[in-house]
Each structure stands twice: as structure tokens, then as C-alpha cells.
């Protein structure tokens, strides 16, 4: 079976099937990562933009690196840009209330988790998502986030402290 690195090499020569295979391999993890990062907003657009950037930059991919690290690096950068954008136009509060009332208990739990993640500053949120949900090591997270290992460690520590604080309330 072709490795991810072989496939991205093939994408650089215009191979559509190689891209299809890569999309199939990373569809779930990438989609989940973006969903958790943005709280479920603009997920499909960011997902698509991530892959378009991958295709655009496929020729510049360094085959000595891991494809997954590179892919998540692109996704993290896009999510960062997304968080910097101005917030969307205010919506009708009546609509929000109606939605809230209709939500089920399971959805409430998910919302709590979503609120917890949303309360974290973007750098800490990235670390928590990559570590907790994607089980990545400090080395790989540091590469994805473009910061030293020590920073990853301290961000995780601060995120935990903040989350613990929120759980106490």
C-alpha cells in the first residue's frame, strides 16, 4: 500500500486518485479536528480549503517530513486565521432560544465540552485537541504548532488549569 508521502508525491504530478485516497484516509480526523477547533462553524469550508492548500503546495512538500504533521499544520494555520476573522453578523436571539429549548441532554453534554474548548485561547485549544483527541506526542505537536516542546508543555498545563477552574464553577 502506498504511503501518504508517496501519495502526496503523486498529487504533485496531478494524480486525482492519489488525492482521493488521501482524503479518504484523513477525512474523519481532519474533519473532527476542525469541528472541535471552530466549535462546528464553517467546518466544511475550512476542510475544503485545507485540502486545496495541500494540493497547491504539494510540489513543495518535503518527503522527509510526515504528511499528517504537514496536513495538521495547514489546518491549524487555517483555524488560526479563521479565529482572527471578525465575528459574523448578530442573529435573532429568539431563534437561539428556540434551538436551546429543543436540544437533547446528550447535545447539552457536547455543548458543555464545546464551551470548555471555546473558552480556551486558540493556542491552548490547539494543544488540547491535538493531545487529547488525536493523541499526538509533544514533538509532533511542537512541529505542527511551530513552537518549542516546552511551550507545548506549558500550554497544556495552562489549559488544564483553566479547564479545571471552569469545572469548579
Amino acid at each position: 500500500m502506498a504511503t501518504d508521502e508517496d501519495l502526496i508525491g503523486a498529487v504533485a504530478t496531478g494524480d486525482g486518485r492519489a488525492l482521493e485516497e488521501l482524503c479518504r484516509r484523513y477525512e474523519r480526523p481532519l474533519h473532527r479536528f476542525i469541528f472541535r477547533h471552530t466549535g462546528g462553524r464553517d467546518v466544511d469550508d475550512l476542510y475544503q480549503e485545507t485540502w486545496l492548500r495541500v494540493v497547491r503546495a504539494a510540489r513543495r512538500f518535503d518527503p522527509r517530513r510526515r504528511f499528517s504533521t504537514w496536513l495538521f499544520q495547514i489546518a491549524v494555520n487555517l483555524c488560526r486565521d479563521w479565529h482572527r476573522r471578525p465575528p459574523p453578523e448578530p442573529v435573532d436571539p429568539a431563534g437561539i432560544e428556540a434551538t436551546r429549548e429543543g436540544a437533547a441532554a446528550a447535545a447539552d453534554a457536547a455543548l458543555d465540552a464545546r464551551r470548555l474548548l471555546a473558552a480556551l485561547p486558540e493556542p491552548q485549544r490547539s494543544v488540547v485537541i491535538l493531545r487529547y483527541y488525536h493523541d499526538l506526542g509533544e514533538e509532533e505537536m511542537a512541529e505542527i504548532l511551530g513552537c518549542p516542546r516546552g511551550t507545548v508543555k506549558s500550554r497544556l498545563h495552562h489549559a488544564m488549569a483553566r479547564l479545571g477552574e471552569m469545572a469548579r464553577q
Binding site: 502506498a2 508517496d6 501519495l7 508525491g9 503523486a10 498529487v11 504533485a12 504530478t13 496531478g14 494524480d15 486525482g16 486518485r17 492519489a18 488525492l19 482521493e20 485516497e21 482524503c23 479518504r24 477525512e27 474523519r28 474533519h31 473532527r32 469541528f35 472541535r36 462546528g40 467546518v43 466544511d44 476542510y47 475544503q48 485540502w51 486545496l52 494540493v55 497547491r56 504539494a58 510540489r59 446528550a106 453534554a109 457536547a110 458543555d112 465540552a113 464545546r114 470548555l116 474548548l117 488540547v128 493531545r131 487529547y132 483527541y133 508543555k153 506549558s154 497544556l156 498545563h157 488544564m160 479547564l163 479545571g164 471552569m166 469545572a167 469548579r168
Partner: protein, 158 residues
């Protein structure tokens, strides 16, 4: 990070504590208080279900990427062709010089045994055949290069 932080981080990430860490956890008042919150946070985060992506999402991505892929394919084909032509042109001067001497030698031999007009006719035909073969060989380069690229693609896919 302190020992307490390390232990709480392990708990948060669902790791298993060793005997020393477990002993610390039961003895340390800070860890005893914090672990309840850490476990609560971990439970909450674990309950964060994400709906699966729409079934049309991959098709949408592939559709949007199609023009970019086509551009990559065109560039790759041109690069491959340029490399193949460059490699083929390197021995061309040598081939031409060799052919020239071969034709001249053939003419010299034929001229000694045949009338001049007939020798010229035979040598001209020979030279024309050589030229035709050379043109065909170089003309085949783009076709062979394209085929080789297709084969490489299939190999990498397998």
C-alpha cells in the same frame, strides 16, 4: 512542571499512574482536590461527539481541486518531456558525426566498385533511411515520456 502537574496531566489524558504517583495522589491534598475536577473535565471532553462529515464533502473537495490537479499534471508532463528531450539531445552530435563518417566510408567503398551515379544513389538512400530513423526515434520521445509517466503513476498508486 511540578510532580502534581505531571500526575494530573496523566490523569487528564487517561494514562495509568505508577505506584509512586498513586501514592502521591492519595497523600497530596492538592492532587486529591484537583483530580476530581480533572476527571470531570476529561469526562466532559470525552463526551464531545462530532457528527460525521457529509457524504458529499469529499466529492466537493475533489471537484474544487480538479483545476489545480490538471495544472499540476500539465506541469509534470512538461517537466518530464523537457528532461527526456534534454537526455536524448546529449548524444545527438556524436550520432550525427558517426553517421557522417559511416556514409562517407560507404560512399568510398561503393565508389571503388560501382559507377559514381549508382554509388551516389545507394549512399543517398542509405543516408535518407538513417535520417528517417533518427527523426522517428526523436519523434517518439514525447509519446514514450507520457507513457512512462502514466506507468509511474500506476506504480505509485499500487
Amino acid at each position: 512542571m511540578t510532580e502534581c502537574d505531571e500526575i494530573l496531566a496523566t490523569l487528564f489524558l487517561g494514562g495509568v499512574l505508577d505506584a509512586d504517583a498513586a501514592a502521591h495522589l492519595s497523600a497530596c491534598p492538592r492532587c486529591a482536590t484537583e483530580q476530581v475536577h480533572v476527571r470531570r473535565v476529561a469526562e466532559l471532553l470525552a463526551s464531545h461527539d462530532v457528527p460525521p462529515p457529509a457524504s458529499t464533502l469529499s466529492a466537493r473537495v475533489l471537484g474544487a481541486a480538479a483545476p489545480l490537479l490538471a495544472r499540476h499534471a500539465r506541469r509534470a508532463a512538461w517537466r518530464m518531456l523537457a528532461r527526456a528531450l534534454a537526455a536524448a539531445l546529449v548524444p545527438l552530435p556524436l550520432i550525427l558525426v558517426l553517421d557522417f563518417y559511416l556514409v562517407r566510408a560507404a560512399y568510398g567503398v561503393l565508389d571503388a566498385v560501382l559507377p559514381r551515379a549508382l554509388s551516389l544513389y545507394v549512399v543517398f538512400n542509405y543516408a535518407a533511411t538513417l535520417t528517417l530513423l533518427l527523426a522517428l526515434t526523436y519523434g517518439m520521445i514525447p509519446i514514450v515520456a507520457e507513457r512512462q509517466m502514466r506507468l509511474r503513476r500506476e506504480e505509485s498508486r499500487a
